[in-house]
């Protein structure tokens, strides 16, 4: 589904954010990307739907080359859902309109159909009664669930999560993770940047560990948690799991 081959990315001439990254996500697979901050994991996931351009290598999404100048990027992006660290709901639109905007403007759905779809997804994330509210009236956890529903409204073939729980208060993390676990169990293809090792342990098929722009470890979940091969991954795990 997602193939990442020898990807290089530079910010300016002096800082290489990604170094020769190669990995892939199969259909229906859940891949967790972890690593210390500044390791390039968020950058990597943003390259998958070309929110960040890459300078070397290639990324292929459902058979289409993402970094090909001829690729219709808006169309490609509309088929991949993305959830951001800071939710990025549109603050000037009601929740239901947040869910409908792209359905109508990108997919050309009729307003009534878009609303029906949006309400169904709001019900799924347990927020039906908030449809008429504005994002600022909701808690962080609720906003992030809306953001997931907004992405799902586009009927994506895969979902990208960029640290979806990092900006949340601890008591709200689980309500978001619950939605993501359900999604994973339904067979959604997911690439998730997160520090939530509990989530990784529960639903991930594979775990990728990144450090300083490189993919240091790319292993089956059991292997990663059982006996990480690299020192850096071992250190990272011991730090994160020690509490």
């Amino acid at each position: 589904m997602i193939q990442i081959k020898h990807v290089d990315k530079w910010y300016g001439p002096n800082f290489q954010a990604l170094k020769d990254c190669t990995t892939s996500v199969l259909k229906g697979e859940v891949v967790v990307v972890c690593g210390p901050s500044g390791s390039g994991k968020s950058t990597l996931i943003k390259c998958v739907n070309a929110l960040e351009p890459i300078q070397g290598g290639e990324i292929i999404l459902d058979g289409i080359r993402v970094n090909d100048p001829k690729t219709d990027l808006p169309k490609l992006r509309s088929r991949v859902g993305m959830v951001f660290q800071h939710f990025e709901l549109f603050p000037h639109l009601r929740i239901v309109d947040n869910l409908c905007l792209a359905q109508e403007k990108v997919l050309g759905r009729k307003h009534d159909d878009a609303v029906a779809k949006g309400m169904k997804l709001l019900e799924r994330v347990g927020l039906t009664e908030h449809a008429k509210k504005y994002p600022a009236e909701l808690s962080g956890g609720q906003q992030q669930r809306v953001a997931i529903a907004r992405a799902l409204a586009m009927d994506p073939i895969a979902m990208l999560f960029d640290e979806p729980t990092s900006a949340l208060d601890p008591e709200m993390i689980s309500e978001v993770l619950d939605v993501m676990v359900d999604l994973a169990r339904e067979g959604m293809t997911m690439m998730v940047v997160t520090h939530e090792m509990g989530f990784a342990n529960k639903v991930a098929d594979r775990v990728i560990f990144m450090d300083r722009g490189e993919i240091v470890e790319d292993a089956k979940k059991a292997d990663f948690f059982g006996k990480p091969r690299s020192d850096r991954a071992q250190k990272f795990l011991s730090k994160i799991l020690s509490h």
Partner: protein, 230 residues
């Protein structure tokens, strides 16, 4: 001293002052504000487009307009446009442009420079995550601007835009140099005709002051409300 004043001249000329003069002033203000906002937003988008040439052109335009006294622009534009029109259309004599059309175009062009800076600040105040989220949903650059970024930029900047419009309302009195009967022009005409300069100019000042003050107060109220919502 007040005894020698004739304030009745104001009462007698009220219908003319307001139905002719003030109507013109308000029409010009409203049309120039809307036109200035539309063109100003376009200029702001050009400057932020990332295309260097477009940005340069827009930047030059803004600096150029802001470096000239408005009254000169009004004046030159009024006298030059007929000749520019002639040159553009290839007509045999200078085309006729009404004083209203000429002043309206001038104000739109002039205000566009100021509104563009306000909208540019407004667009830049929106976090990068918003257009990123719009793109991630498949919206094109244009759609993301139209449905996500500009509505928020406009809402955030509304108090500043309205304040600029109050300034514009006062500035429209400069069409006086084209002897157009806007509110000030109308007052001036009556003043000259009846020889009641002090009374009429005092009254005109009072009217501009009152309207601008009330409008400023309303903008402050609005600002407080927006601040709460955010």
């Amino acid at each position: 001293m007040l005894g020698s004043f004739d304030f009745d001249v104001i009462r007698r000329s009220l219908p003319y002052l307001f139905f002719e003069g003030m109507r013109f002033t308000l029409t010009l203000t409203a049309l120039a504000a809307v036109g200035g906002l539309v063109f100003g937003t376009l200029i702001a988008l050009m400057r932020l487009s990332g295309y260097r040439l477009l940005g340069r052109v827009a930047g030059f335009y803004v600096d150029f307009m802001r470096s000239l006294p408005l009254v000169l622009v009004i004046f030159w534009f009024y006298f030059l446009v007929p000749y520019i029109g002639q040159w553009l259309t290839g007509a045999s004599r200078p085309i006729t442009v009404g004083a209203f059309a000429s002043s309206l175009i001038t104000f739109i062009m002039f205000e566009a420079a100021y509104f563009s800076e306000i909208m540019r600040a407004g667009i830049q105040s929106i976090s990068k995550g918003q257009p990123a989220a719009a793109s991630a949903l498949g919206l094109t650059y244009g759609q993301s601007m139209r449905y996500v970024v500009l509505p928020q930029a406009f809402r955030n900047m509304l108090p500043v835009l309205l304040t600029q419009t109050i300034v514009l309302f006062q500035d429209t009195s400069l069409v006086y140099v084209l002897s157009i009967p806007d509110f000030l022009g109308a007052a001036s005409k009556v003043a000259q005709r009846d020889g009641r300069l002090v009374e009429m100019y005092l009254f005109a000042a009072l009217v501009y002051f009152t309207i601008s003050c009330v409008a400023s107060y309303c903008v402050r109220r609005l600002q407080a409300r927006i601040a709460i919502v955010r």
